[in-house]
Symmetry: C2
Subunit: 224 residues, 2 copies
Amino acid sequence: MMPNQLDSDNSSITNQTYQRIYSMIIQGELKPGSKLKIEELRKIMGTGASPIREALSLLTSEQLVNRIDQRGFRVSHVSAESFAELLKTRCWLEERALRESMASQDMQWEERLLLAHHRLKREARILEETGLINPNWELRHKEFHTSLMSGCGSSLLIKFCDQLYDQNIRYRNAAGSISYSSRDVGGEHDLILKHVLDRNADKAVAELVSHYKKTGEFLALQLK
Amino acid sequence: MMPNQLDSDNSSITNQTYQRIYSMIIQGELKPGSKLKIEELRKIMGTGASPIREALSLLTSEQLVNRIDQRGFRVSHVSAESFAELLKTRCWLEERALRESMASQDMQWEERLLLAHHRLKREARILEETGLINPNWELRHKEFHTSLMSGCGSSLLIKFCDQLYDQNIRYRNAAGSISYSSRDVGGEHDLILKHVLDRNADKAVAELVSHYKKTGEFLALQLK
DNA sequence: AAATGAATTATTATCGATATTATTGAGCTT
DNA sequence: AAGCTCAATAATATCGATAATAATTCATTT
């Protein structure tokens, strides 16, 4: 899942390597489908082969890396089909997670969500100066979406959703910031929150799913 | 996922190691929560440390092993709570997968399922001679359950379900064969198939879920 | 006796070198 | 030219040794 940026120094070389490769893949620095040569990475990271291999093995869980016996590792490739599959699967799992969260009637969960929403609103999505996506927004956005599911009562399901979220970021970054530009993404988040607080599960789910599908349509176009 | 038993010889040492440790965990030979010391495993497997570490890193994806930075690997532990969570999550995901499979109206899928069911029926669950679970039954049983979901159109979801299935086997083996003894498990499988072929999704799902919940109640008792 | 902390031991993490296996390409055959 | 074989090359997988870190022991102090 999302590596913790804070303790990147004192942690093991394997962990540091893991985190660096993780973000290089998410950011699209390492191209989908490209070969991850141990020797090359070894030079870039300035380590031995073991931490590299171990980090890549760990990244296999996240489905960001594929390992083929005796012929090494590669960045898992992207395609319009696998994006469609990803989107579909996310909708299925997150619908379930959101419904369960809402059914639990957990006050603390509602409060966590409200807070996450507030923090997200406070961040601008695009930085004025650079025109790039604000990394804080990215963080808060993930936290908001994670909060929606965090009350479902299954850490397994939360983990799966988290994995899918990370896979999705890769597609977003690949497509650039276009996918959001013409939309009122903030308004969509507001609506989701509103329906949750109104305890209207059907509407909340419908809004969440439409939120994903809208982004999906843009991205699908980008992928030709 | 389920390692392929056939090519265990000519594959890499890492893969062989992976498979051996995998089944040792599933079979309960390596106790939940126990420490996986590299040096010990090294001696048992007769290899260097690298394949061991890499295999353990791969098993982390399956959630069968936990890795804690700087203090090694351990078999992930079992508990009544995490079993309940596992069971719940399996029901959620498999319901979705089964509904989607059925909605797809895929002839080939139905035929695969019928075949898997037939092959399962042909195997006895318990071997007369030894009184142990027939490994062929175990294999066919997994294939039958996998078939149910294989038409859902999302390899991601199938993989998740597969992971959860493997985690579940561990609980079954821990509890011994008691969990099934007093039940007509074969009949439950027949009913699931019947409802699928009747194209009655609600009944099929209900039967599948009740199939899991029945096993779950037995296991939950075993776990005290 | 409980708590502290330095010294010892055990274990993990990492490196550098080598064995093993895949890939490439040049020369040969049809 | 397309296909095949076999050497040359490149990459992966693995080993054995060592450095870094955690866990344990045991004497010392309160």
